[in-house]
Amino acid sequence: MNYKFDFTPVIDGLPALLLGCLGTLWLALSGMALAIIIGIGGVILRDSRVKLLRWLVIGFVELIRNTPFLVQIYFIFFALPLAGVRLDPTPTAIIALGVNGGAYAIEIIRGGVQSINKGQVEAGLALGLHKLSVFRFIVLKPALRAVFPSLASQFVLLTLTTSIASAVSAYELTSVAKRIESDSFRSFEVYGVVTLMYLVMAWIVMNVLNFISSRYISYPAK
């Protein structure tokens, strides 16, 4: 192999790459927020008394979990304008990430909700707590606590999935990398460094989630 590595384009493009990292983290965090909302909403609807709603949620989850994210983001990208919603690529990508992550979140959170003993809910109602309070404090919080590790690894996966959003040219690390690569043709160097950047970001996201969990979801330390 007589290839001379040349990292100059990467070093010159470092500020742009770091901004791209921020773009990626922004996509990931907004996607997660949307996914949590869809996840909790979906869990409520999944156990609704209306049969149609239950089936819609099941269908949504199965559909999203059995098709590639790339196809989903293309579909949403072309479907939103037809529905009269004109958005930039980045918000479109956030919606796609949230919808995708939301379907997985529904499955995961539901697993936690099912692990809650029915007697707990009955006890809460018997004590005169409002239905919403029962859901929030007796069902949701312990459920999230129980499934937090799965949810966290799903969210790390979501962070890595943001790279696919470059397909609709959302502003994130991979699109920045592609631009630098097509200007310099140093493909291996650029993507190699960017891969390491993703590794660091995955680590950061994992730690942030663990911090949130220890601060707001876990029981107080003994």
């Binding site: 979990r65 098709t67 196809v71 989903q72 293309y74 579909f75 696919i164 991979t174 493909s187 291996f188």
Partner: protein, 213 residues
Amino acid sequence: MGEGELLFLLKGFKWTVVLAAVSFLCGTVTGLAIALLRTSGYRAVERTTAAYIALFQGTPLLMQLFVVYYALALYGLEIDAWIAVAIGFTLHASAYLGEIWRGSIEAVPRGQVEAAKALSLHYFWRMKDIVLPQALRISLPATIGFLVQLIKGTSLAAFVGFTELTRAGTMVSNQIFKPLLVFGIVGMMYFALCWPLSFFGSRLESKFAAATR
């Protein structure tokens, strides 16, 4: 959308299946090796394989494909795009399957290994006849889950210009300007492939859960 376009999509579908099958089979062999090294008991070996797994689980599949694709080009290897992509997916699969199977090997009750050792079974026979058959059973739902993930992942081969189902869809949609119809059909094709597997996987999971309760 005419017959020609549909046939083109079906051709893409065929390549998606081929790519997933080849990557999964090669990934099975390498993944098994990774799992065995990861549980070998040699600290340095275990750490190295753990780092290998962490590297693949902590980076996007798309980047892995790019790096492998361009690394092969650096060595001046003149190979088909699809082989380069298949190598990328194989490495990816080996890390994930290695981690899944490490978990299942460790989940086999300790007494089984101890009994095999007490009978002075050699490592090879201990693994082949005692540990791995039980681990396989434990790992089956997660393995099927990963197969589904891999099939969906093959859509990323479109980024490096390999014409599988998703790229075929992009090309057709650029031609006939009906993106929703085309990606709807493409999505349905993936669904037809993945959903039965997912269903089978979750059935197995609940069956095993009931058996061990």
